[in-house]
């Protein structure tokens, strides 16, 4: 079967790709998508460890799944509020390019 390490490496790679996207993309919405990638990476990790834990304890342990559920809830709320913020910013500033939203420049 598949070693745990594969999942962990895949998840780390997905996370770093998401991180890269957050750092380089100019567009707020694409940054959002990158954040979704990172959250998914976290979920892969959580489920992989859930599997590992259940296997080690030889019995179902749903604790890891609870974490996954809460991460999904957080992702959903984050998208709702974040996209609303983007739309609101777009209405006021007429842009969603993150480089143009530098009101807090020192």
């Amino acid at each position: 079967m598949i070693p745990l390490s594969w999942y962990l490496i895949a998840s780390a790679a997905l996370f770093c790709i998401g991180l890269f996207g957050v750092m380089v993309r100019k567009n707020a919405i694409t940054i959002f998508m990158s954040i979704e990638l990172m959250l998914n990476a976290v979920n892969i990790n959580l489920i992989a460890f859930w599997h590992y834990h259940s296997q080690m304890q030889s019995g179902p342990h749903v604790t890891g799944l609870v974490f996954v559920a809460i991460v999904i809830v957080v992702a959903a709320s984050e998208v709702a509020v974040g996209l609303a913020l983007i739309i609101s910013a777009y209405r006021r500033r007429k842009t969603i390019i993150i480089d143009d939203l530098t009101l807090l420049k020192g």
Binding site: I2, L4, C16, V24, E36, P60, I72, V73, S77, I97
Partner: protein, 174 residues
């Protein structure tokens, strides 16, 4: 190399490739499509981990709700986003370097852990018992408080999103 491993490698390859496409394609709509493909890939990874409930939830929530929301906002904002101009910052190689370094570090640290190389075997039937999950979520000995907090978070997000996005008729400033 079992069949499952081959499937895993193919799926992971497609998923990671799609993820790279998400962060690198120029057209936003295409980025969303690649994102959907990535999420589907993640869902299949969940299935290989025998978490079919969360695989389905992944599709339902991330593709059915989140991607569509993102698609909507892309369409709403598309008038100002010129797909023709570069979508990444000029010094994109610097973050790429940082991310790669981080990946290397993460893998290195994880490799220090003795359980890293454990082979995951098939769990007995009914390990992702949804009924059990439901009981744990609402039992006082389990996770009732995180569960309720998550509910409140959802409600707050709902109200907050409506409040933020509502189109106030502001007086025309001269």
């Amino acid at each position: 190399m079992t069949g499952l491993q081959i499937i895993f490698l193919i799926v992971t390859g497609v998923t990671l490739f799609s993820a790279i496409m998400v962060v690198s394609v120029r057209k936003m709509i295409h980025a969303v499509l690649w994102l959907v493909q990535t999420l589907l890939g993640v869902a299949i990874l969940f299935i290989t981990l025998q978490a079919s409930f969360f695989a389905v939830v992944q599709i339902l929530v991330f593709i059915g709700a989140i991607s569509i929301l993102i698609l909507f906002s892309v369409m709403l904002a598309s008038r100002v986003i010129q797909d023709s101009s570069p979508q990444v910052v000029k010094k994109w190689w610097l973050p790429a370097l940082v991310a790669t370094l981080l990946l290397g570090l993460l893998v290195n640290f994880l490799a220090l852990w003795p359980g890293f190389e454990t082979t995951l075997v098939e769990l007995p039937e009914g390990s992702d018992n949804i009924a059990e999950l439901g009981h744990v979520l609402i039992s006082p000995e389990g996770y009732i408080i995180p569960f309720e907090l998550a509910s409140i978070l959802l409600l707050a997000a709902l109200i907050g999103a409506i409040y933020i996005a509502i189109d106030r008729k502001e007086p025309q400033s001269s």
